[in-house]
Symmetry: C2
Subunit: 213 residues, 2 copies
């Protein structure tokens, strides 16, 4: 599995794309480790937007803590179903609780977003692993709060909510936190960025068993 | 349901976002109808990328043909599961066949992508309605070919595959076809653009029954 390709034709497309990506952003990611480069390349491949080479920021411990969690088969928790639907080839659980009846009820009772209520629900139900937020700033604020209160067993957070309201500030808060993280600066981000990042990490741990590497 | 909001907090965020979006792109979409404007605004809201105001192109009949199909409750067919997962509040069927056993087999036998094989599968299984392609240029080429050969009952195509290889050309082909369509020029596009477009259309037909309009 190379950048999501599962057939020869898909592989050829992905391979050519990687060459183009490298020609576009190679000089902007020179300072990164090879694993970090692979993540940023996959984000730019998935979005066709070279700007992400400059917008993407990882804490120094992001890759190592994430790989450690994935190798243990710990949980992946997503804010919305679109993100969950894009995650491939992981042997552990990939959960999204936004449509869970308890979450919908709590969201109404507390007048908070369903995405935020879903983070609380996970924290209360033995979540342990990586949180992937591709859409909702409110979910990201909630996760940072739960981590700071020692109420959620978080190994790393991919925090790339998108939007003109709240997204940039929520990512800035994550960037200033003690949580191992990846963010995108400013309003941009979104589900493809979230999915590219977690799939790149999963690919690192699956590498040996896959054909197209 | 306003731009995907389902709580008061979500509504407030969406409302403020729309004001920002209008201040950023208002002058660039002046030539569009009000429905077309609403679609482009939702795309920019979903991606936080004002560039889409200039990249998005619709055929003159795109909105009317799409609404007609949705009002009849016809099918929505997506190229990948991520797109399907993002589509909300539609009373008809929303299908994605990329993981169907027949599609996986045909993909291997013919050495074509699974996304392309999934379009053939739909055409052979009484599909009638709107095709939404957020990822795979190969699926879009297949759909144009099936339409031209009169082998697929397509009412409109949202064709916004993303990537540096094949995506721009496939969208150009769609733009030059007789199919009612929405595209994004160049390599950019993707699942959030696809989902924003179809959800905006669904919102048009659901408007009367929703709270936040």
């Amino acid at each position: 599995m190379f950048m999501g390709a599962s057939t020869k034709q898909g592989y050829d497309i992905a391979h050519k794309s990687r060459e183009i990506v490298r020609s576009l952003i190679g000089d902007k990611i020179d300072h990164l480790t090879s694993d970090e480069k692979a993540i940023v390349e996959r984000i730019v491949h998935s979005t066709a937007d070279p700007e992400y080479a400059e917008l993407t920021i990882m804490s120094e411990d992001f890759v190592s803590k994430s790989i450690k969690s994935l190798k243990k088969g710990e949980d992946i928790l997503t804010d919305i179903n679109m993100v969950r639907a894009g995650i491939n080839n992981y042997s552990g659980e990939v959960n999204c609780f936004i449509s869970h009846p308890d979450v919908i009820k709590n969201s109404k009772d507390k007048q908070i977003t369903r995405a935020a209520a879903a983070m609380q629900y996970a924290a209360e139900n033995e979540f342990q692993g990586i949180v992937v937020i591709g859409n909702a700033p409110t979910a990201l604020y909630e996760v940072i709060d739960l981590f700071n209160k020692d109420l959620m067993n978080i190994k790393s957070v991919i925090g790339v909510p998108v939007g003109f309201v709240g997204a940039a500030d929520s990512k800035e808060d994550l960037n200033n936190s003690e949580i191992p993280h990846l963010i995108t600066k400013g309003p941009k981000g979104g589900t493809p960025v979230a999915v590219a990042t977690i799939n790149a990490l999963i690919n690192f741990i699956n590498k040996k068993s896959n054909k197209y590497v």
